[in-house]
Amino acid sequence: MTRSEQYGLGAAVLGHVALFALLSLAWSSAPTPPPTNKPIEVSLVDDVALDQHAPAAPEPPAQSAAPDPGPPEDAPPPEAEEVAPEPAPPKPAPIVPPKPAPPKPAPKPAPKPAPKPDAVPPPKPAPKPKPAPKKPAAEKSEEADKPAAKPAPAKAAPAKAAPAKSAASAKPAATAKANGTNPKATKAKPTGSLLDDDFRKGLTQSPSKAKASEAAPGATMDAKAAADIGSAIRRQVQPCADRQVNPGPGASRIVVTIRLSLNRDGSLAGRPTVADDHGGVDDENRRYVDTVDRNAIATFSGCAPLRGLPPELYDVPRGWKTFILRYKLPG
C-alpha cells in the first residue's frame, strides 16, 4: 500500500463517518412530516347510552333531603308518644272530625240513616270535652296507656248513654280510631310538625350531600358519561386507527360493531370481539368485511391500555367493563 493510498484510506474513513453522522443527526433533528390521514370515525353504539336519560346526577341532593328527615323523626317519636297523651286532646280532635264525617260513620252506621245528621254535629263537641277531663284523670291514676285510653271513652260512653245510641256507636269508632291512629299518628306527627322538618332540612343539607357523594348514587352511565368515555377511547386509539390501511374501494363504508372487555386499569381483558352484523355492507365491499374486522380489532388492541376512564363508572350497570363501539375506516 503506497502512501497516497494510506492517505486516501484515512480520508475515506473520516468522510464516511462524517457523512453518516451528519445524516443521522440531520434526519433526527428534522423528522419526516407525519402523514396527514383523514381521522377515523369511531362512533358510539346507541344502545349504550340512550336508555338512561334520567339525570341521576343532579337529583341526589333532593333525594337525600327527603329520606333524611325520616331518621331524625324516628328517634323523637318515642318522646313524642310519651308527650302525646298530654297534647292528645288536640290530636284526636282534628283526626276524629274528618274521619267520621266523610267515610267511616257512613259505612258503619249505614243501616241507620237517620242518626247521621244527629251524630255528625254532636260528636264534635262530645269527644272534645270528654277525653280532656278523663285523660288527665286517668294519667293521675295510671300512665297514659292505650288500654287506659280505651276505658276512658268506655266510661264516657255510659255517661253519654242518655243522648243516643248513635253517639255511643260513634264513640267506640272514635276510640278505635284513636287507638288505630296511634301507628298513623307517627305519620301524622311530621305533618303536624312541618316547621321542624323544614328547619331540619336546612340544617341537614350539608351532611346529606356528603353522604350522597360517598355513596356515589350519581355514578350511573348516562348519555353524557358514555359520550365522554367514547371520546376518550377514540382519542387514544386514533394513532392506531391511522395506521390501518384501507383494503379497497368501498371498505370505508363498512361499520363494525366491536365489543371491548376491559380491566379496571384500562387494559383489555380479552381480545375485542366483533358482532356479526355489519353495517354498510354491499356487493362491492363484501369481501373486505374480514379485513375491516381485523383492522378494528388491531385498532383497539394496538393502543390497548386505555387511560383516563372514570373508575367509578367501571362496574356500574352499562359501565365500561364491557364497552361497545362502532368502528369505521377513515375515508
Binding site: 503506497t2 493510498e5 484515512g10 480520508a11 475515506a12 434526519w27 433526527s28 383492522n295
Partner: protein
C-alpha cells in the same frame, strides 16, 4: 440524541433495526464503500502528480544535452517514465559493452525492454483499478440481496402478526431498502472513478509508449553513429 424510531431515515437507526443478514450485507457494503473511496482518493492524487511529473520529465529529457548525465540525475526516481528511461539506458549499456554490436538485435532488445517497462509500470499503476471495477459491478447485487432478504423477513412478519397493515411491514422494507441504498452508494462512485481512471491510465500508457518510441528512435540513431565510428 440519535433518533432510533422506526419512522426515521437515520442510517444508524435503520442499521440497528435490521436483521443479522442484512446487517452483515450493510457492513460489507460500507467497508467496500470505504475501500472504494480510499482507492479513488489514492488514484486521484497519484495519477495527477504522476501526469504532471511525467510532463516535466519528458520536457526536461528532450531539452537535455547529455543522456548519461540525465540518467545519473534520474537514476533513483520511481516515476514510470524514469523507469522506462532507465530500462532503455540499461539495455543500451548491456548491448554496447562489447566491441561487436549487433544493431538489429540491439534495436529489438531496446524495444522489448522499454515495452516491458511500460507494461510493468502500467500494471503497477492500474493495480487497484480492479477493486473499483468489482465494487462497481457487484455492490448493487449485494445490496439487492440484502433487500430481498429483508423483504422476505418482513413478509414472514406479516404472516406472524396476522395483520396486513402496512405499518407491520414498512419498517422492515425501509431497512431492507437501505441495503440497496448502501450498495448503490458504494457502486456509483466506483463505476464513475473506474471509467475516469482507466481513461487517465490509458493516457499515461500512451504517453509512456510515445516516450519509449522516441527514446528508442534516439538510441537507434546513436547506435548507428557509434557503430559507424
Amino acid at each position: 440524541m440519535l433518533n432510533t424510531d422506526a419512522a426515521t431515515l437515520s442510517p444508524i437507526a435503520l442499521f440497528l433495526q435490521a436483521d443479522l443478514v442484512v446487517k452483515t450485507v450493510m457492513l460489507g457494503l460500507l467497508a467496500a464503500s470505504v475501500w472504494t473511496w480510499a482507492v479513488i482518493l489514492g488514484f486521484f492524487f497519484r495519477l495527477g502528480s504522476t501526469r504532471r511529473k511525467i510532463a516535466t520529465f519528458e520536457r526536461d529529457f528532450w531539452k537535455a544535452e547529455d543522456i548519461d548525465a540525465f540518467h545519473r540525475l534520474h537514476n533513483e526516481s520511481d516515476l514510470p517514465i524514469a523507469r522506462v528511461f532507465t530500462a532503455g539506458v540499461a539495455e543500451w549499456r548491456r548491448s554496447t559493452v562489447g566491441g561487436q554490436v549487433d544493431r538489429g538485435g540491439t534495436r529489438e532488445r531496446l524495444a522489448t525492454a522499454m515495452g516491458a517497462a511500460v507494461a510493468n509500470e502500467i500494471d503497477q499503476l492500474s493495480d487497484r483499478l480492479n477493486i473499483l471495477a468489482t465494487v462497481g459491478s457487484v455492490a448493487p447485487f449485494v445490496g439487492l440481496f440484502g433487500t430481498v432478504w429483508g423483504i422476505m423477513r418482513s413478509f414472514t412478519g406479516i404472516a406472524q402478526a396476522q395483520n396486513t397493515s402496512l405499518a407491520v411491514v414498512a419498517p422492515g422494507i425501509a431497512e431492507a431498502l437501505f441495503a440497496t441504498a448502501i450498495g448503490l452508494f458504494a457502486a456509483i462512485p466506483a463505476v464513475i472513478a473506474y471509467n475516469r481512471f482507466s481513461h487517465g491510465i490509458n493516457r499515461i500508457e500512451a504517453r509512456l509508449n510515445r516516450f519509449a518510441d522516441g527514446f528508442h528512435a534516439t538510441l537507434s540513431r546513436q547506435l548507428e553513429s557509434e557503430v559507424r565510428r
